[in-house]
Symmetry: C2
Amino acid sequence: MPFSTSFVPEIRFGENLHETIGAAAKAFGGKTAALVIDGFLAQSGLAERVVAQLTSEGVEARVFSDFSGEPKIAHVRKATDTVSGADVVIGIGGGSALDIAKIAACCAASGEDAMHYALAANPLPKNPLKKIMVPTTAGTGSETSATNIFAGPEGKKLWIWGAETKADLVLLDPTLTATLPATLTAWCGMDAFIHAFEAATNRNAHAGGKVYAHEALRLLTGALETAVKEPNNMEARGKVLLGSCCAGIAIDNCGTAVAHNISHAMAGLAPVHHGLATALGFEATLAWLVEADTADLNAAARACGLANAAALPGFVSALMDRCGIVRALPKSFEAVDAEALVAEMKAPENQPMRRSTIREIGDGDIARFAVSIMSLPKAA
Amino acid sequence: MPFSTSFVPEIRFGENLHETIGAAAKAFGGKTAALVIDGFLAQSGLAERVVAQLTSEGVEARVFSDFSGEPKIAHVRKATDTVSGADVVIGIGGGSALDIAKIAACCAASGEDAMHYALAANPLPKNPLKKIMVPTTAGTGSETSATNIFAGPEGKKLWIWGAETKADLVLLDPTLTATLPATLTAWCGMDAFIHAFEAATNRNAHAGGKVYAHEALRLLTGALETAVKEPNNMEARGKVLLGSCCAGIAIDNCGTAVAHNISHAMAGLAPVHHGLATALGFEATLAWLVEADTADLNAAARACGLANAAALPGFVSALMDRCGIVRALPKSFEAVDAEALVAEMKAPENQPMRRSTIREIGDGDIARFAVSIMSLPKAA
């Protein structure tokens, strides 16, 4: 089967690598570097430390950290203002910080607004600013992907996609993930696991993507539980961070499937953590999915150390148990019913993830999955 | 353990992908493309077909194919003359063609002679010409590596190393490898296998490189024998080609070890195919090597489907048997003795591969390995 894999940026991995961010920006020939960093991380002193590194390298530093939660167009625009005129953009944080940084690096290069590029309306600029991405959660894989999500002027989830948004350099520093609470470690880790699983088993799966997806499954299977239970276990944190990065490369090439159809649909209805929503959607559909019993499903199972695909549902539920994932929706879902979820799962923007799923998803399946999700307790 | 992995270029894989070379060159904004292609491939009509593609895309085409065997400085200089003034360089062939093309793309950009960059004497130009690499053998991994080998003015093997020499786009077309004779398929395939094995198990091995090395071992273990015995089996040819490409990424990041110390030493004494020499060096040292019994050696064994490292020597010898590899040296080695091989194995330029080996190689080991190699029949 023919395939193509997009370029993979240079990746550096190591404890305390965040101490080298200034030098890395300087090495790109940066005279001015703009930092896009999560607000709470900035407050922790990390932004100041990176600014000090940049200053000592003779690089002028700017900081944008005025955002939180899912990225909105207003955040992207303010970030672009800060970034404009810089040579290097440094994203530090979760998927939101990285997505904002990557988009701003393109918009600042062309002078165009992010909406100019949303939903592939126009081609991205060929020479965006240099981008250094430093994830502080292990889940989204934004550091190695070409997909960037933000909410448009009317609150609708939009995306900007293209190799031009990809990082030039990724710094993976497990010490930056050590303060992530157990719940977020588990939710983000399951998100990464499901990225790898769906990329390795959906209709777009191919040998090039599976190189990364299977390695991610091996790394996450072996280390996620330990990272949740022993937050300062740097070996486990490192494996989860590298696994998440590999999973990001896998979805960058092969995309996702039904679990992400459900989690994106849920996000359209009420606020919910993407990793939790995806894990719930995955568990609700996996027993149905593995009935397809494809070679890819069995290969993914073996990458998890299992004999075959039939063993996956039990394995995944047990892993979620051991990682302490409570099967419950946020209270905000009290006002939502299964019918609303069905409608979102059928919305045009969520159809690619329905179509890419290896089993055909009938309307009856959607109704059943929606009921299963919405019958969860509302308490998380 | 900290590590870094160099960028991986965009890779496209598929049968008959060579029909898209012209379009790919055009997509890079090329007005003039220079083809560096093995002489015998050019004579087969492939050069003409690619030139026709380029012409129909409105891209001016030039061809350099006046070389054969291991690349010499004269080849590199003539290639640079042809390439100068072009926007895109297209390398088609075995490792020699690709190495010449990659070096010429740098020299043509700066106007400097290749000797200016040999052995890292000077930094490479930051903006080399765009490079499209199309391997027609499955072994060297040059399409994804930053190492380029050629013989200097005095015949000494020299190298030019740097990310600037790496491809921007790799096209993997298994149909181009279908005419490779069984002997070369086996020799090149074992070279790739050993690249992956040494990268995954030497002192520089790391988690980032093992992603590629282990996948290469899995792919090559599963498909090499079939590719040798069924030359038109495109599935097997494809797996070997992708495995070789992954192995190239692995050595690009982690380098090689003792088998390559021996094969480079042999190359300094008399003409010998690099893949054969490496396979002979590997078989002569593997039983000794696996006594180290490291976690990496055992993980590499598992990637080959084996229980543990102790099973590797028997497995590799049986694989070489099934691939029809005759354990013999070229007749040109009749005038060479073990002492000469010892001296070459101890030569300064071969010490990095001695030092990177996971077991310390004593002088007694070197003497023993050299005797073992030189006692092979001279008949290949």
